[in-house]
């Protein structure tokens, strides 16, 4: 069975008296261990789809199954617990808590787990080691570069070992070099740690790192690119 099954999903936003359709009867299947890129122009519905997959929003119609669980059946509190267990989210603007150190930021999702203080700290340190920031674990976000902040964001996303990682334009606010490092890191997480990744991007080069790219336009699927192998070394 596929990890994610999106079936006939539509999303309509109500803006005052106007109904704005964003997704229109979308069908998407995502396999375990897949690195999927969502591309499309602004307003195509890719971020909305990502939010639906994260359980941050609910579809107007249709169903979404993740790991065999239908998300629309979950109440708000159950959905929060589900997110804590299954989703690692990477934001475009990193969204680290500025008053916490890198280590504390990564520990944050672990507060929702039964781990004790020492275990939480060890897990967070390991996640920072994976992203190559063990030397910076006691630095505050303001003391890190954009690329380093995003790596802390990635460490925070993987620290709970979630079912899948959702990344909303993770390189959108970075320079080319930092973007390349982040893409390389995501690719490594997918290949070495077999993490399922869904990444929204505007950048064709970033999308080329994924094993499959879905092209959305006006809330519908317009095309699909499947790659047998992805270029080594991430973005140039």
């Amino acid at each position: 069975m596929s990890l994610v099954e999106v079936r006939a999903v539509s999303k309509v936003y109500q803006r005052d008296a106007v109904k704005v359709p964003v997704l229109d009867g979308l069908d998407v299947t995502i396999e375990q261990g897949e690195f999927l890129a969502l591309m499309g122009p602004s307003g195509s519905g890719k971020t909305t789809l990502l939010n639906l997959l994260a359980g941050l929003d609910t579809p107007t119609s249709g169903t979404i199954h993740v790991a065999g669980e239908e998300m629309s059946r979950l109440k708000s509190k159950q959905l929060a617990a589900w997110r804590a267990r299954h989703v690692g989210f990477i934001f475009q603007l990193y969204n680290l808590i500025p008053v916490l150190t890198a280590l504390q930021n990564v520990e944050l999702p672990l507060l929702l787990t039964p781990l004790n203080r020492k275990q939480r700290r060890e897990h967070a340190a390991t996640a920072l080691r994976v992203v190559g920031l063990e030397e910076r674990m006691h630095h505050y976000p303001r003391q890190l570069s954009g690329g380093q902040e995003q790596r802390v964001g990635i460490a925070r996303a993987i620290v709970t070992d979630p079912t899948f990682i959702l990344a909303d334009e993770p390189t959108g606010d970075l320079d080319a070099k930092s973007a390349a490092e982040i893409l390389e890191l995501l690719t490594r997480l997918n290949r070495e740690f077999h993490k399922t990744i869904v990444m929204v991007t505007h950048d064709p080069h970033a999308a080329s790192q994924a094993s499959r790219t879905l092209h959305l336009e006006k809330g519908a699927l317009r095309g699909e690119t499947v790659r047998d192998s992805v270029p080594a070394g991430g973005a140039s």
Partner: protein, 383 residues
């Protein structure tokens, strides 16, 4: 890291604002506790007065004297066991701000009547033997660093001139709440000082001990009836009622103090609510991130309330703690103006209850807003 770390880190985010808010709350709570303590002390001042002692003063008011000639007739009144008298002196020591009660008494009859004034036999004897001698409360001695044997000069306000008194003894309170900040001296010395100034043969008020406290109202009526048609009609009442009437000279002070207290509480509420609202609004994006990570609405609500609780709790600790140190430990008495100020458990609990209300009231709206926040909307707050 724990959730507590997150709360503390958030409070440190704008440390100056947090400190100012805490001190604003502390100042307001200190003021509230002080007002309540002052009011409580005034309201309980009557408790210090005795039910078995009657105070006879001029019916026209306490500032009008009574003839000393009344003493013999009062002594002969049925049910009266002892009679003494006293007069307000109103002397100032060095500066008007050094206010304390000072009055003349007929020592031989006054001291046996006021068993609450505990004086050693040596000091009592030395005081009685010295015409210009004075007996001083222990708190007043401490306040000015006076020593027994020292001569102090008071500037007369009612009786002009500089008047010298020899401190011959110290008295302490024999029961809680009794004043320990007064200076008393011999009435016959006052009569000497005031000779020729229109005060000859007069006294401020009489104090009577009645043999049966249950008969006090009847005896008071008898005395007032006896002098009803004289040139100086009397008003007799128990010492307790007299003290309360004295407090009544301040006017409806209770109403004003309560009104000020409520205004203070309302001000605290506004300050705390504004701070909490600003603090939460600034962090909507971060709250959205927490929710994305899996924090529930309840988790977020608890975090915001916890922040409010820490701020108001610190304000309470500093404000109430400061008041308790000032009044219960150091026994600050407003320069002797209001002796016996003490923060009671009831006042402390009232302050704690108000703090709790402020916590809930100030934290409730931002906590509810944060809890109800839709993640996808809140992420738009990202700068």
């Amino acid at each position: 890291m724990t959730r507590g770390t997150l709360v503390i880190a958030n409070l440190r985010r704008r440390l100056r604002r947090t400190i100012l808010t805490v001190f604003g709350l502390a100042t307001a709570l200190f003021l509230f506790v002080t007002l309540r303590t002052f009011l409580h002390t005034l309201q309980t001042v009557g408790d210090v007065g005795s039910e078995s002692r009657l105070v006879v003063s001029n019916k026209l008011g306490i500032v009008f004297p009574l003839p000393l000639a009344y003493r013999a007739r009062l002594s002969g009144t049925d049910g009266v066991a002892a009679v003494s008298y006293a007069s307000w002196f109103g002397g100032i020591y060095q500066d008007p701000s050094n206010f304390f009660a000072n009055y003349a008494v007929d020592a031989e009859s006054y001291l046996p009547m006021y068993t609450e004034m505990v004086v050693s036999p040596e000091h009592r004897q030395a005081f009685i033997a010295d015409r210009a001698g004075a007996l001083v409360g222990v708190r007043l001695m401490e306040r000015f660093g006076w020593q027994v044997g020292q001569t102090v000069t008071l500037n007369g306000t009612i009786y002009p001139g500089e008047h010298r008194f020899n401190i011959r003894g110290v008295y302490e309170a024999g029961r809680k709440g009794f004043d320990q900040s007064s200076l008393i001296f011999h009435h016959r010395y006052l009569e000497e000082l005031s000779r020729g100034q229109g005060g000859d043969g007069l006294t401020g008020w009489y104090v009577l001990t009645v043999s049966d406290p249950n008969r006090a109202p009847e005896i008071a009526r008898t005395i007032d009836a006896a002098y009803e048609n004289s040139s100086a009609p009397t008003r007799s009442q128990t010492e307790k009622a007299f003290n309360l009437a004295f407090v009544g000279m301040y006017g409806n002070i209770g109403f004003f103090l309560n009104a000020i207290g409520m205004a203070v509480v309302f001000s605290i509420l506004m300050v705390a609510a504004n701070t909490m609202a600003m603090s939460a609004r600034e962090r909507f994006a971060e709250i959205a991130v927490l929710k994305t990570l899996g924090f529930t609405d309840g988790d977020v609500l608890k975090l915001v309330i916890a922040e409010a609780l820490v701020i108001t709790g610190l304000g309470l600790a500093v404000g109430l703690g400061g008041a308790m140190i000032a009044f219960n430990l150091i026994e600050f008495d407003m320069g002797g103006f209001v002796p016996g100020l003490s923060v009671t458990p009831t006042i402390a609990l009232t302050a704690a209850a108000i703090t709790l209300v402020i916590t809930v009231a100030s934290g409730a709206v931002p906590a509810w807003q944060s809890a109800r926040l839709r993640v996808i909307d809140a992420l738009r707050y990202v700068a």
